[in-house]
Symmetry: C2
Subunit: 350 residues, 2 copies
């Protein structure tokens, strides 16, 4: 009896503590703020100044050339495709299409993800069939639905036909006797892309400024973690670090209405376990890069969040919860570096 | 006999004078320089700061909106066409293609001329079937080979579907109750284009600095005038002020190898006299905007100059003469205004 009384008393005390604690967390007062920030720091990290690579050190000369090549249409088979066509910087380096349209109106198999903050991922492309941003650039020039050129040699011939490139490649790759190669094109474009880092208010927050996020955004962030979104979409880029099955609990196409159904990484590996597996996309600037998913089948971020709840988390997120998560996601919209918002003059054919 | 002697003496004096005068002109010394500059000033004029229009006054708000719309692909029928697609600023606002490729791979009937310095012409488009730059922008959104939208209303619906445009149009067209219209889109894009003025060394020369042009360029300029190039390609924009038959002396397609043969302004007017008549293109930045002529059928500026000699001037220009004229033409390459070399962020669909 005494024991029961004691347990009840303990229970009541615990309940009171929990209630006080929850209130504090709900209002995200000073203590809640600090606690949240500590928790967040375990899961996320602020963006670096640039996404460096030992294999392809960033130099001003490479970045200069890479930025020019980023806008170069004359090395595509029909003269209309550049990196910027599917990744226009003014649209946060995505094109707003469900699936990008390349040379001769060829439709790419998947949605063009943003190129901002992407060089730090485990791989490039939705199904991870590009090692890194350099590999992506390298393969795109001969990719049938992108630049569509018949061979690397044909690309190099086009580059050599534009006199200004001789000096630009020489400067970017000093000491090389014949620097105009697709490999070097890829390195230059990659170096440029490695500078495309867009710090946001979330980074200020991660660096210890608790007021950088508004209350609603913090509630959204907390919910985002509580609902296990951060199990996959975490770390510096808020994603991009692993592969996961899309439709963990139920087939994704029941919600996205995708047609055709994309088998994901299975297309590359032919491993049954990779069916419907995709690289977890980064969520940096996600509010600016509709439409969503590998096939751009969903237009609204709110709907995409709801689908994630259904297919990955066994959770029917309410309208209010979605609103808060989206508020947090919008805080990931960053500032595009000024140097990448200027248009380079391309060398002429004269 | 005395009369003959007198005439001979006069002839000799005249010859001596001519010889001295020619020498002076050949070396383009101080006197020749001044004389040339005076002659040049009768024919050409320096670029204005902006190409103003009473019908569409330039305001910062209109220019801001117009520049954003210039990059807007989401108002085209397949989501791939913006003004910048066929007029990329980094390529001197031309696309380097023989004929531009628009939505759904539709090929435009003629080569995309540069948009730099173009708002001061008598009309827009090669055959003058657009009144001005505003009319060009207005018609392009529903033009089958350009944006390809089914109606102005469809364009306006797309614009209204992107929330950020509400405020931008309101700011650019204050006092209007429903400012999101294709007419206003055209005015905004037009206002932006009216700022695309690229002063070059030729303008410094015209403003009285005889050393702004190199000796070879001055010889080229003199030859350009002596050979009557300036009969048509003159004034502020070095062209763009009249219509002329291409193939004045011989059919143009004998030299350009054009296929199909374009009947020019006749297509619009159905007037027999307008057969093979085109607007005389401006030559500002001509060295940067290959390929040449209404169908982009000629790749090299040297060849284009030679063809002009043959078809318009009854003159077989020598290699040396062409070199000098081309040297002058290269001095027309100007400086693109800095403000138009920055990429605007487009409003998102969120």
């Amino acid at each position: 009896m005494v024991g029961m009384k004691m347990r009840n008393r303990q229970k009541i005390i615990a309940l009171i503590f929990t209630a006080i604690f929850s209130c504090a967390r709900m209002s995200l007062g000073a203590t809640g703020d600090e606690e949240l920030l500590e928790q967040v720091k375990q899961i996320f990290a602020p963006l670096p100044q640039a996404m460096v690579s030992e294999k392809n050190p960033i130099t001003p000369e490479k970045v200069k050339l890479g930025k020019i090549l980023f806008y170069e249409t004359r090395i595509s088979v029909d003269g209309t495709v550049s990196c910027a066509r599917c990744h226009p910087i003014g649209l946060y380096a995505a094109d707003g299409l469900k699936k990008s349209i390349g040379n001769n109106c060829r439709i790419n198999p998947r949605n063009a993800p943003t190129l901002l903050n992407t060089a730090g991922q485990i791989s490039a492309h939705w199904i991870g069939n590009r090692v890194d941003v350099e590999d992506q650039a390298r393969q795109s020039v001969t990719g049938p639905p992108s630049f569509g050129m018949p061979s690397n040699e044909a690309v190099e011939a086009k580059l050599r036909g534009i006199p200004g490139y001789t000096e630009l490649f020489k400067m970017a790759f000093p000491g090389e006797s014949s620097p105009i190669t697709v490999d070097n094109l890829a390195k230059a474009v990659g170096a440029f892309e490695r500078t495309l880092v867009t710090p946001s208010r979330f980074d200020s927050y991660l660096k210890g400024n608790p007021t950088a996020l508004k209350e609603q955004e913090k509630r959204g962030l907390k919910l985002y973690m509580d609902a296990d979104c951060a199990t996959c979409h975490s770390s510096t880029y808020v994603g991009g670090q692993m592969y996961q099955k899309f439709g963990f609990l139920e087939p994704y196409w029941k919600f996205t209405k995708s047609d055709p159904i994309d088998e994901g990484r299975y297309v590359v590996t032919k491993n049954e376990a990779d069916k419907y597996v995709f690289k977890v996309p980064i969520l940096r600037n996600v509010a600016k890069t509709a439409p969503y998913f590998h096939d751009g089948s969903v237009d609204k971020l709110e709907e995409a969040v709801w689908i994630m709840g259904k297919t990955q988390l066994n959770r029917e997120l309410t309208k209010g919860e979605i609103e808060e998560i989206v508020a947090f996601l919008k805080s990931l919209t960053g500032t595009i570096p000024e140097e990448s918002l200027t248009i380079p003059l391309l060398p002429s054919t004269e």
